[in-house]
C-alpha cells in the first residue's frame, strides 16, 4: 500500500518485514476442524484533504492435519487523493510539472504543494506454509508477490521456532529476501537535478495514468523539454534482506512476553522518484525545484518488546519498539490494546499508539540557493522529525459457530516538527509542518 500515492520506499521495505514476521502465518491451534477458515476485512483510510485509500483482504487458512497449515492471502488496495511533494509553500501561485512531464499543475498561494496526479491500485498475493519439524521445533516458508502501476515486488521468507522448558520458552529465527522493481512514471529523475518546467498547453493531461499518446502534439515530442524525460532510465531495482531473532517467554499463567531483534538491509534504488525539494534564496523565495536523492543503501536495527496479560474478562497488550538506522533516524513506538469482553460473545477494545521519530541525517525541509548542493537531500516529511498519535476503538463478536465480525474506528494524527532548521523570512509566514489527520474505518468478517 502506498499512502503517498506514489512508490513509497518505506512501504515496500515494510512489506518484506511484514511477510517475514509471519503476518500471514495463521494461528493453527485455534482450528480444530480441517475446513478452510476465511478471514476477510475491508478498510477505509482517509486523510483530510489528502490521500484516501480503500483496502480489501481475503485470507484463507487450512490445517491439513497435525498443524500442517497453509495460508493464502489476497490484498487489493486503491488509492486516490493528493500527497505532499516536499516543496514548500510560497505567497504566490506555483507551477509544477507532472511526473510524466505530460502536463503540469498549479498550487495556490500559501498552500502546501500537493501532487494529485495519480490514482493507483495494487494487488498482493501471499502464500505461507507452516508445520512442526519435530517435537519441539516448527518451521515455515512463504512467498509474496505485489504489483502496482509502477512497482513490482517479489519475496521469499522462511522461519524456524524452537521450544524449550516444556514450551515455556520459544526461540524463533527468520529471514526474508525481497526484490523490487520500480518503473517510475516519466522515468527515473536524476537526483538533485532541476524539475523540468514548461508552460501549459491545451494538451495537458489531468491524469498521468493515461497511456494514450494520441492527443499529444508533435511539438511536445520534439521539444528539448520532452528529451529530458526520454533520456531517463526507465527502471530501477532494489534488494532487501531481513533477519529476525526473537524469544517468547511464558511468565506465569496470565502473562506472556516477547522480545525480538530485527535487522534489515536494503540496497538499490531507495529514492521516491516523485518527491521534490524547493531551493530558496535568503529571503525564502523559491528559485528552483529539484528532485530528491537518498543513499543507495539503508541498514535498520529494531528491538521490539511486547507483553500480553490475561485479565479475568479480557486481555491487556502493551508493546514498545525502538528503531535505529544508518540514515540517523531513531524512533520509538508505544502501543497498547485493551480488550474487555462484554456480554456473551462480544468485546470492546480501545487502542492507543504513540510514535516519535527523529529526522534522517539528509532530511532538509528546503535547500538554500547560496549553499552547495548536498550529496543527499529529501524533504519527504516521513523522513523528518515527527510525533504521531492513534486513538481507536473496536467492537466485535466471536460466535461459537466461528462466524466472527468486528468493526474498528480509529483517528490517526501525524505532527511533523522542525528538526532545527532556521527558516528564511518568507517561509516563516508559511506552515512548513502541517499536521496530517486521518480516519480509519474497518470491517472484519470471519467464517
Amino acid at each position: 500500500m502506498q499512502l503517498s500515492k506514489k512508490t513509497n520506499i518505506a512501504a515496500k521495505l515494510a512489506t518484506a518485514t511484514c511477510v517475514l514476521l509471519g503476518s500471514t502465518q495463521p494461528q493453527a491451534e485455534t482450528t480444530a476442524s480441517e475446513d478452510w477458515q476465511f478471514d476477510t476485512a475491508i478498510l477505509y483510510y482517509g486523510e483530510t484533504d489528502r490521500v484516501s485509500l480503500v483496502e480489501g483482504v481475503v485470507s484463507a487458512t487450512k490445517d491439513f492435519g497435525d498443524d500442517h497449515v497453509f495460508n493464502g492471502k489476497i490484498t487489493y488496495d486503491g488509492l486516490t487523493g493528493a500527497s505532499a511533494t516536499g516543496a514548500v509553500a510560497q505567497n504566490e501561485v506555483q507551477t509544477f510539472s507532472r511526473p510524466s512531464g505530460k502536463g503540469g499543475y498549479q498550487v495556490a498561494a500559501n498552500t502546501t504543494p500537493l501532487d494529485d496526479t495519480f490514482r493507483d491500485s495494487r494487488v498482493q498475493l501471499n502464500a505461507n506454509w507452516s508445520q512442526p519439524l519435530g517435537s519441539d521445533m516448527a518451521g515455515g516458508a512463504g512467498v509474496h508477490l505485489s504489483k502496482e502501476y509502477d512497482y513490482l515486488s517479489v519475496g521469499l521468507n522462511g522461519n524456524l521456532a524452537f521450544d524449550f522448558n516444556q514450551k515455556n520458552t520459544t526461540l524463533s529465527v527468520g529471514a526474508s529476501f525481497q526484490y523490487d522493481q520500480i518503473d517510475p512514471v516519466g522515468g527515473k529523475p536524476v537526483g538533485l537535478s532541476s524539475m523540468p518546467v514548461r508552460p501549459y498547453s491545451e494538451y495537458d493531461h489531468d491524469n498521468d495514468d493515461d497511456e494514450s499518446d494520441s492527443e499529444i502534439s508533435d511539438d511536445f515530442y520534439d521539444s528539448a523539454f520532452a528529451a529530458q524525460y526520454r533520456e531517463r532510465e526507465k527502471s530501477e531495482d532494489k534488494n532487501t534482506v531481513d533477519a529476525l531473532v526473537g524469544v517468547t517467554q511464558v511468565i506465569n499463567r496470565r502473562t506472556v512476553m516477547q522480545l525480538n531483534y530485527g535487522l534489515s538491509i536494503a540496497d538499490g534504488y531507495l529514492n521516491d522518484p516523485y518527491k521534490l525539494l524547493s531551493v530558496v534564496d535568503t529571503s525564502g523565495v523559491t528559485q528552483d525545484i529539484v528532485f530528491e536523492e537518498r543513499p543507495d543503501s539503508r541498514t535498520k536495527h529494531n528491538v521490539f518488546w511486547q507483553t500480553k496479560y490475561a485479565m479475568d474478562n479480557g486481555v491487556a497488550d502493551v508493546s514498545y519498539r525502538y528503531m535505529q538506522d544508518d540514515w540517523d533516524i531513531q524512533s520509538h513506538t508505544i502501543e497498547s490494546r485493551l480488550r474487555f469482553n462484554v456480554g456473551e460473545s462480544g468485546y470492546i477494545q480501545p487502542h492507543l499508539r504513540y510514535y516519535q521519530q527523529g529526522a534522517a541525517e539528509f532530511y532538509r525541509p528546503f535547500l538554500m540557493a547560496d549553499e552547495a548542493l548536498p550529496e543527499y537531500a529529501s524533504a519527504d516529511y516521513r523522513l523528518g522529525e515527527m510525533t504521531a498519535y492513534t486513538v481507536g476503538i473496536k467492537y466485535g463478536q466471536k460466535r461459537a459457530n466461528g462466524h466472527d465480525w468486528a468493526v474498528r474506528l480509529e483517528y490517526y494524527q501525524q505532527n511533523p516538527e522542525n528538526a532545527g532548521f532556521t527558516e528564511p523570512e518568507a517561509l516563516q509566514r508559511q506552515d512548513l509542518y502541517p499536521s496530517i489527520k486521518a480516519m480509519i474505518l474497518q470491517f472484519n468478517y470471519s467464517f
Binding site: Q25, A41, G314
Partner: protein, 74 residues
C-alpha cells in the same frame, strides 16, 4: 560503539530469557494462555493492515513475531 553496547545488552537479555527455567507454568496451567485473544498472532489481519498504514506514513517498519505462547500443545 554505543550500538555494540546495545546489541551486547540485548544478547545478554535474550540468553537470560532462554536460560530462565524458573519462569513459566506447568503444561496443564495454560488455559488462559490458550485463549485465542492471548495468541501473539491474534487479530493478524488488523495488525497487518495497521503495519502497512504506518510503514507507508512513517520511517519505521516491522518488529513483531508470532511464535510461542498459547496452548503449548503437541
Amino acid at each position: 560503539m554505543k550500538q555494540k553496547m546495545r546489541l551486547a545488552l540485548l544478547a545478554i537479555a535474550v540468553s537470560q530469557a532462554v536460560g530462565c527455567a524458573s519462569l513459566g507454568v506447568q503444561p496443564w496451567e495454560r488455559d488462559l494462555l490458550a485463549k485465542e485473544e492471548m495468541s501473539l498472532n491474534a487479530e493478524g489481519v488488523d495488525l497487518s493492515l495497521d503495519d502497512h498504514i504506518y510503514f507507508s506514513k512513517e520511517a519505521t517498519s516491522g518488529g513483531r513475531g508470532f511464535a510461542g505462547g498459547g496452548c503449548g500443545c503437541n
